[in-house]
């Protein structure tokens, strides 16, 4: 376990190597990236296994001393960190393999792998951080990796704009995070998680300050995890290559916000107001994003809104006090959402469009992708026996036992919407007849793309069995060092969860599979409501006409100040100097006759002065 620090180093090596030699290696670059992440994965497994039998490991090295404060860097292997290491390394490895097929033939193939390496390094570093300062640095590095990968197709205007939007919007959250971290340091004189928890425990940190810092740090998590109201960057981030959407914008980076709140859980537990904020934002986002997902027509955008909604679920679990349920759902979500994105990538690869209106009838054409997509959809919808069912059930139980009935029913509503829009997607893409002729033959993706999907498909089912009401709660007991006791949630919650998910599937089948209910049922009855959903509640337009307009008018004003006031002053100074210099250089013209003339004039002047004054001053 004391070798845990090597886990993030393999992807870093891959990043550096590919940056230097990538252009020469071309397609071979993939093997470098795959090998590096495989080593990381093996090391992460090693760490997990030794953590299973051992205690928490932490090592710190002094980084610098400022005044009487010592800043340290280090690694910390708690149960949560070891678990996250494996999840991140595993998904990253599978995405590396998948990308070999998906990105084949791209001009900047090796650059893509280099960026993936950078991102994986940052994410693994983030989950190993023992203190907030180090976590903040990796947090920003993760954001950088995301920026580079969203903007990978930088020749597309939309991709460029999306990359900038993602970076700026998450930065807004990060400012909150940074202020929270600095406040904590000011109060506790330490960035270490353990010191902070101790300060919370013994009352060094006042209750008001606890709430304030917890909420400020949660703002950072809102930005990164795409929660309302900072969620609008995540759907736009789908401009990036699909494997990136799977790795960063579904499985790992967006889960960083959940991870952060989970890592700081004792801080949140100490403040009821902060917990309530987390739960309300999470529950609200879960339903909010799910309703938008109902009407989107871009396959990746539906999945993006579904990601936002599922992250809202995790936040709801955290806010309801169930740390275990959140991490459990984070894990299962990482697998089934990565699977769904990879399958979506495979569909896009086959038909070269992202518009689900132009798909249809792909079930027979894609014999691997279609069943795997179905597995992912069943899992995310929470159909019994699939992983998503167990984790979602856990969250619903947590919300119920926490006593927030309103949030519980919100979560149930979100579950219904989730299964409906997932199966709307499934039926529109795979069932029925092809609605559009595609150029070239539609064919299944190569092995390198289907194999990772198969692995994720197995995990999308199997991952649920680490924490079930029947076989015991292995994950919960391990994450909480045995202190976990399964809340005696009423048995009917599982029944409700299962029935709403089946109801959603049935409804979707009636509308899009069998078509007994017309497709324009909603848009015909409530055109304004439909339009509202289709335009994502006008959130982008709202931001454009308020925040963006305000900031750009301020910047335009400052631009004028710069151009006319500052620049004018500078122009004046340079103009003056230039004029003096021009006058001087006219005198220094190199003509002996001019110099003679000046000398003679000077002499004449002296003579005149001499004559007028009579020479007394000599």
């Amino acid at each position: 376990m004391n070798l845990a620090w090597v886990v993030p180093l393999f992807p870093l090596c891959s990043f550096v190597l590919l940056l230097w030699f990538g252009r020469k290696w071309k397609q071979t670059s993939a093997y470098v990236g795959i090998a590096a992440t495989l080593l990381s994965l093996l090391a992460a497994f090693g760490v997990l296994v030794s953590r299973l039998g051992g205690a928490t490991y932490e090592a710190n090295w002094t980084w610098m001393k400022i005044g009487d404060a010592t800043l340290t860097v280090g690694v910390s292997v708690t149960a949560l960190n070891a678990w996250m290491l494996v999840v991140v390394a595993l998904v990253s490895w599978l995405v590396h393999i998948y990308s070999q097929g998906y990105m084949a033939g791209d001009e900047r193939f090796s650059t893509f792998y280099a960026y993936l390496g950078l991102f994986t390094f940052a994410m693994l570093g983030l989950v190993l951080s023992p203190n907030l300062l180090q976590a903040y640095m990796f947090w920003e590095l993760v954001g950088l990796g995301s920026f580079l990968l969203i903007g990978f197709y930088f020749y597309k205007e939309e991709a460029k704009a999306a990359a900038k939007k993602a970076f700026i919007m998450t930065r807004i959250g990060d400012v909150g995070f940074l202020i929270g971290v600095l406040l904590l340091f000011w109060q506790t004189k330490s960035f270490d998680y353990d010191d902070i928890f101790r300060a919370v425990g013994n009352g060094t940190l006042s209750p008001g300050m606890t709430t304030l810092t917890a909420i400020l740090i949660f703002i950072g998590a809102i930005g990164k995890s795409g929660q309302f109201p900072l969620h609008t960057w995540l759907p736009d981030a789908m401009e990036g290559p699909t494997p990136v959407s799977a790795l960063i914008h579904a499985a790992t980076m967006v889960a960083a916000g959940v991870y952060l709140v989970a890592a700081l859980f004792p801080l949140y537990e100490a403040s009821a107001a902060a917990m309530m904020t987390v739960a309300v934002i999470g529950g609200g986002t879960a339903v909010f994003a799910a309703t938008i997902g109902l009407v989107q027509t871009d396959i990746k955008r539906v999945l993006a809104y579904s990601t936002i909604s599922q992250l809202g679920y995790m936040m709801l679990a955290l806010g309801s006090g169930s740390y275990v349920a959140a991490i459990f759902h984070l894990t299962t979500h990482a697998f089934f959402k990565a699977l769904l994105f990879l399958a979506a990538g495979s569909v896009i690869h086959a038909v070269h469009t992202q518009n689900i209106e132009e798909m249809g009838g792909l079930w027979r054409r894609l014999p691997w992708t279609a069943p795997l997509f179905l597995v992912g959809a069943l899992s995310i919808s929470g159909v019994p026996l699939f992983a998503g069912f167990f984790s979602k059930d856990e969250i619903l139980a947590a919300a119920w036992t926490n006593g927030s009935v309103g949030l519980f029913w919100l979560a149930v509503a979100a579950a219904l919407l989730t299964s409906f829009y997932m199966f709307r997607l499934f039926f529109l893409v795979f069932a029925g007849e092809a609605r559009h002729r595609h150029d070239g033959a539609v064919h299944e993706a190569p092995m390198s793309m289907t194999a990772p999907m198969v692995v994720l498909g197995v995990l999308s089912v199997a991952a649920g069995y680490i924490q079930t009401p029947w076989f015991g709660s292995f994950l919960g007991e391990w994450l909480t060092d045995g202190a976990y006791h399964h809340e005696a949630a009423p048995g009917w919650i599982a029944v409700v969860a299962a029935s709403v998910s089946l109801a959603g599937i049935l409804l979707a089948w009636l509308m899009y599979g069998k078509r007994t209910v017309p497709r324009d049922w909603l848009s015909a009855r409530a055109p304004y409501g439909y339009e509202l959903l289709r335009r994502h509640y006008y959130m982008d337009d709202l931001y454009r006409s308020t925040v963006v307009a305000l900031v750009s008018s301020i910047s335009r004003l400052l631009g004028y100040v710069d151009r006319y006031l500052v620049e004018g002053l500078v122009q004046f100074v340079t103009g003056t100097v230039n004029a003096i210099a021009a006058a001087g250089s006219r005198g220094q013209n190199g003509q002996a006759q001019t110099y003679g003339l000046v000398a003679a004039a000077g002499l004449a002047m002296l003579v005149v002065i001499f004559a007028l004054t009579g020479g007394d001053w000599l």
């Binding site: 190199g590 003509q591 002996a592 006759q593 003679g596 003679a600």
Partner: protein
């Protein structure tokens, strides 16, 4: 004839020489104008040697000396001018500016 008449002549010659040396663009004329100024000085020497407060032969000696030096100067100046003319095909003094840039 009084001293002031000689001095007036010398002054007029000197001013003509100065004017020519400063305004003419032809190097030959500039050189001639410099000769004019030197000769104005020579007239001063000789005038003071004859009519000055302390007449002596020193003035004559200096005048002769100055004439010799002026001859040498004219020879060197004209030689330099011819070399310049061969190089640049001009005798204009304001075009002798190759050291400027």
């Amino acid at each position: 004839m009084t001293l002031s008449a000689y001095l007036a002549l010398s002054l007029i010659l000197f001013c003509i020489g100065l004017y020519g040396a400063l305004t003419k663009r032809n190097t030959v004329i500039v050189l001639i104008c410099i000769e004019l100024m030197l000769n104005a000085v020579n007239i001063n020497f000789v005038a003071f040697a004859k009519y000055g407060p302390h007449p002596s032969v020193h003035g004559h000696v200096f005048a002769l000396f100055a004439i010799a030096v002026a001859a040498a100067e004219a020879a060197v100046g004209l030689a330099a001018l011819i070399a310049f003319y061969r190089n640049r095909k001009t005798v204009r003094v304001d075009e002798a500016n190759s050291l400027k840039h």
